[in-house]
Subunit: 405 residues, 2 copies
């Protein structure tokens, strides 16, 4: 049984976190450096952007956790440390000063950066303040870390669950940042998950790699795949369960809890998409196979025209059929049914690929809510998928018309 | 030698055109039915959307020009006649009433529709007014036809050129509509081209199919591939040149003139993208092959973040590197140079994948112009490509938040 609990990345035993303003950002009220630390060595797993342009911190993190373990995560916002000539050098320096401050090896540190691309990142404010940050981490500091990794996000994103593995109560929790440049491909945004469940690095990586296919890879805000997407999980084993080292009931319990965390973070990211006023969920069923289900659901969520129609509470289902038609996988469009659903009700707008009579007034009421489900039935098999996105608004343009200057 | 001339689809000998308000649209000042007629039978070629959801008119047009010939094009705006149970029946009725009005066979008529998807189209206003329209076509009526096919377009799109083939002066001209739902795949929007050049249907189709790869397929406004995209060319041979029936100098001259028409229409469509304030051109060079060049150039033009930055005149070149990195084809990002150019000047912002010092003030001045070139050099081969797009603005959201109701 999975139960939602408080505490974010500090919910699991033995994890502390914190976040401070070190001076990367000009705004002194905005925290810009986060730290998450495990009392004991932890198994580590990560998935990363497939963008060919990769942030320097990703290359350093991949090297550092190649041995399947880590003890700390350091992350700054305000600068992505990407497309800079000295990027690797700076990312390595971040690990070194963090290791020094915590008394651990530099290669036990996971490093991440987020913010503007192509502007040199100075190590100075980080080196100067990392000691202060290391001294300030606490077991209720998750919210400070969650705040320190935000860029254009308007809301902190943290969640935690408890679950049972090997007869022991375990905890798993995560924080995330992500609002624009969100269209993950095998990884996403910045997401840090901690658990006290004992699990081998190999099984942790297996669980994570499988999970992202139906969680972060099914989110899109704007179709732009970031250069710095990283999801990293640390498992320190302090729950005392027998280490999960292969598949079976315990692995399934862990995977289920991990999925509860990642799906909740997905919804938070999509709902807080840049400029968004609405969380859109495409619930797709009746597909001949999982790949078709996922491709079509994501195509609907990514359509700029559908997103703008949802902003305007306009039941323009033709745009949904259109997005189904150009997804790139084969669909028999003459079998497709489409409904809109929210807490105000549900309305069928298209059956067998053609429009049905419906009340525009009722549709408007349903689409005026802040969480909209676009329910698509392909009626051509048993596979299903869920994808998350948001509406396209004036504010998306405003935020991105002048982000850098 | 190619010379730009006036006359749009009526520039070529023996073509007449017109456009009227027949009543499909409520706004009585907006023309909504267009007709283009050739005095004599013409060779016909077409390319169409790859969207699995295809407008009924496309299916009827494909059947009608399967024999390689046609004499007239009828097109309404205000309703796409797509995803309607009786779509085919209505599209066939449009050909029948047009054929009757002109005294030609119904299967010599090309039919197209554009506008909202999924609302039944009544034949009544068309049947009632087609006689009036057929009587009103003239050899200077191209602008009326261009206006009658507009939807959210703010500008009429027409262009014509004269060229020489087989020692004879030939003319070729076209009209287009397209502003949103623009991301063609092997075809695009609605484009009608006429020429008096004598060319076999087979060679006409070959020229057109080849041309769209570097013209309409390289345009994107919003990443949404329409259900009704159609490009159709009629060639009536009235220039008196020896019919072009195989490759050679004459075919090349024709292909060059066709490309002049299509590229000009591409720029008009991109520059008139929904809500657009700027025409963006990505000039990409130094690619290892044409496919890489085209894929990368289009990825840059499609990036919502790049489009919003261009709206804000923000030289955020990191977003361009990002879009190059997620295009799906391999690029050595450490070799990439990026400049911005407009009539106010040119500025290098990225060299070898990393930022260079540049004047933000100069960049702002360059990016404040209404036509911006994003100049990308991959420095990894000899292939090049050009793609056209537009900025992402508040008005795109406004137009699409409430298009239907």
């Amino acid at each position: 049984m999975i139960t939602q609990i408080k505490g974010g990345v500090c919910a699991a035993k033995g994890f502390k976190a914190g976040g401070i303003h070190c001076g990367i950002r000009k705004n002194r009220t905005k925290r810009d450096l986060a730290l998450i630390v495990s009392e004991v060595p932890a198994a580590a797993a990560g998935v990363y952007t497939k963008n060919l342009v990769k942030g320097a911190p990703i290359l350093v993190t991949q090297k550092n956790i190649a041995n399947g373990k880590a003890r700390a995560i350091v992350c700054n916002s305000g600068n992505a440390n990407t497309c800079n000539a000295n990027g690797i050098e700076i990312a390595e320096a971040m690990c070194r000063v963090t290791g020094d401050a915590l008394g651990i090896a530099p290669d036990d540190v996971v490093v991440a950066s987020t913010g503007v691309i192509g502007q040199p990142l100075s190590i100075d404010p980080i080196a100067e303040h990392i000691g202060e940050l290391a001294a300030s981490v606490t077991s209720d500091g998750s919210a400070y870390a969650a705040e320190a990794i935000m860029t254009t996000d308007t809301k902190k994103k943290e969640v935690a669950y408890s679950f049972t593995a090997g007869g022991k109560e375990c905890r798993i929790g995560g924080i995330a940042k992500g609002s624009g440049m969100i269209h993950p491909n095998m990884a996403t945004m910045l997401v840090f998950v901690t658990t006290d469940c004992a699990i081998s690095a190999e099984m942790l990586q297996k669980a994570l790699s499988e999970d992202v296919k139906t969680s972060f890879n099914m989110v899109s805000v704007d179709g732009d795949t970031s250069t710095n997407d990283t999801v990293c999980v640390l498992a320190n084993g302090m729950a005392g369960n027998l280490e999960i080292a292969d598949e079976g009931a315990d692995f399934d319990a862990f995977a289920e809890a991990l999925h509860a965390v990642t799906v909740e973070l997905c919804k938070m990211i999509a709902g807080d998409g840049e400029g968004a006023t609405k969380l859109l969920t495409c619930e797709l069923s009746g597909a001949p196979n999982a790949e078709t289900a996922q491709t079509v659901a994501k195509s609907v969520i990514c359509s700029s025209l559908t997103k703008a129609a949802m902003f305007g509470a306009d039941a323009n289902w033709g745009r949904i059929l259109c997005a189904i038609g150009y997804s790139g996988v084969f669909v028999d469009v003459n079998k497709v049914d489409v409904s809109f659903r929210s807490k105000a009700g549900e309305i069928l707008v298209c059956k067998g690929g053609a429009g049905v009579d419906f009340s525009e007034e009722t549709a408007k009421t349903i689409l005026t809510e802040s969480e909209i489900d676009i329910v698509v039935a392909l009626n051509d098999g048993d596979a299903s998928a869920t994808a998350w996105g948001c509406d396209l608004t004036y504010d998306y343009v405003k935020i991105n018309g002048d982000y850098r200057t």
